[in-house]
Symmetry: C2
Subunit: 331 residues, 2 copies
């Protein structure tokens, strides 16, 4: 007799939590920059596209199985961190001192919970550490050796320095040491990875991971570990954003939060706001890069003001797309 009301209550509870029967969607990026079809060989392009496809498959797979936007974002980013083709995790750029110092951040739009790490060494997947900061610490942002100490205490997977080494990034460091840091080609500070997603319950999430800028020093942090600059997500605003580009400009313009704020308070769509911030506001300031964004209905935008951005998406109708260069006539 007492079981029936309880069951009804449970069913109502479940129905309430899954009230929205939303078709999920996900978008990812692997960095924006000057991409020259001449230097990007067909073999490299195929490898990059394969890695983007694998990340989308991993992230969308989670969402299709009823997983959360947060889990989908993390699954996609882990795949990109594990690929040597992007400036995150394995394949990260080198600091002035020849090390790999990694930044990442993650935000759950449903709860506004967030976690981030800056300048952490030896952690295989910084996005998993950012998640652990969010879930197992009272903090949002941990940095440097302290972040590594927290990672070890939490049993987060680490790797020796050589795991992160790629010859391509090492050559970029040698080259960068012979130039003025401010005049580095955009490719030397690009390659950041990120993901945004909407799950079947209508929840949003965003995450970003990077090795930062080649030849960086003095414990420099860019926009990637900064909630509001490189990453932001809010179900109430109906907006999730992950950024990639010249981090200093993205911090000063608070890019990720600004896009969500223009949508929430200014009446623009998230796609319009993302396009305006990247193509007008940042261009005025002199900042290069791009973002991926998704709104509460799963509409994706991927604007950038460089010649290319490694990117991909699975839209609400289940269609997967991967692209590198500007595609005139469509977003």
């Amino acid at each position: 007799m007492k079981l029936i009301p309880l069951l009804v209550l449970l069913l109502i509870g479940t129905a309430g939590a899954q009230a929205r029967d939303q078709a999920p969607a996900i978008a990812i990026h692997g960095g924006a920059g000057t991409m020259d079809p001449a230097s990007l060989t067909p073999e490299i392009q195929a490898s990059v596209e394969e890695a983007l496809t694998a990340a989308l498959t991993a992230g969308y797979g989670v969402l299709e199985d009823g997983g959360s936007a947060l889990d989908g974002v993390v699954a996609a980013i882990v795949t990109l961190e594990d690929s040597p083709w992007f400036n995150a995790g394995r394949g990260a750029v080198f600091t002035h001192d020849g090390r790999n110092e990694l930044d990442a951040s993650l935000m759950d739009g449903h709860t506004l919970a967030a976690g981030a790490v800056g300048g952490v060494r030896l952690v295989k997947n910084p996005i998993l550490l950012a998640r652990r900061v969010m879930e197992n610490s009272p903090h949002v942002l941990l940095t440097g050796d302290g972040a590594l100490e927290f990672a070890l205490r939490e049993g987060i997977e680490t790797r020796p320095p050589e795991y992160f080494h790629t010859d391509r990034r090492w050559r970029q460091l040698i080259d960068a040491r012979n130039r003025k840091q401010a005049s580095l080609p955009p490719a030397y500070r690009m390659g950041t990875v990120g993901a945004v997603a909407l799950d079947a319950r209508g929840r949003l999430a965003a995450g970003t991971s990077t090795g930062g800028m080649t030849n960086k020093r003095w414990g420099r942090l860019g926009d990637t570990p900064i909630i509001g600059a490189g990453t932001y997500a809010s179900d109430v605003a109906g907006c999730a954003v992950s950024a990639t580009g010249h981090g200093e400009y993205f911090i000063r313009a608070a890019v990720a939060h600004d896009i969500c704020a223009r949508a929430e308070y200014g009446g623009q769509s998230v796609a319009e706001a993302a396009g305006f911030v990247i193509r007008e506001r940042l261009v005025e300031m002199g900042g290069t890069g791009g973002v991926i964004s998704i709104d509460g209905d799963g509409r994706i935008a991927m604007p950038f003001n460089t010649s290319g951005m490694y990117r991909g998406a699975v839209t609400t109708d289940g269609e997967m797309q991967v692209a590198i260069y500007q595609t005139p006539g469509r977003e």
Copy 2:
């Protein structure tokens, strides 16, 4: 003959740059928290009020002499950092390891230039280092030992560890080590200082400086070094904000940028937006603290959701005020 056009040009140039004949204004804070008239002895209260008055006098003096909002903000914050009564510079709280790790950020609303440092040791005035990062590096945010290395290279003044020591903060550390970090009294993570100003040319600036949270570890950074969370300024938005409070909540809500965005896109006044974010949005999230804000006409607001906030202002009519507790009926 050629001198006359040049002189005319110079005069026009000067007039153009000083086109607005704005009465300057400044506001400062020395932290928000649970302030109990019983434990705050009349002697301590007098000392705190004296320090606040000295900071206002220094900052407003710069503005009265035609100095920039940026210079006014820095002058006020240096005074507060040098006082042992606030959790910034001398008098900063101790980390879990018994050290003083300092955070600061600074933003020029006129140019949107910004500089910040996180977790830096031994620097007498972190706000001066943040300014140097803004002016002499291609970066916005430097952290840890790297930030100290940059400071030494730039000839920024340092002090030995004992300079930063105060018995009061040491006792807080001993006490905090015996508690769970998450349950620390608000006083243990409060005391951050900051300033916002409008100068005679209508330019805005904001800055913030802190020792962070007593017993912090793992390289934790709060909102103070985060442009968009603890500090934001934009002449175009007509808004400058400096925050103090439980930093993790201020990062997740992107408090300083959110107040400016609500004013710029949402049609609220800066004062209304500041009040809403502190008294409604943060209260909903569970975040305690306050902000000081100023708009393009010099209107100041100093809302907080705690029992008190050390604060003070010189308004556009030249009137100086200093306060600690809630003052019913006025902002």
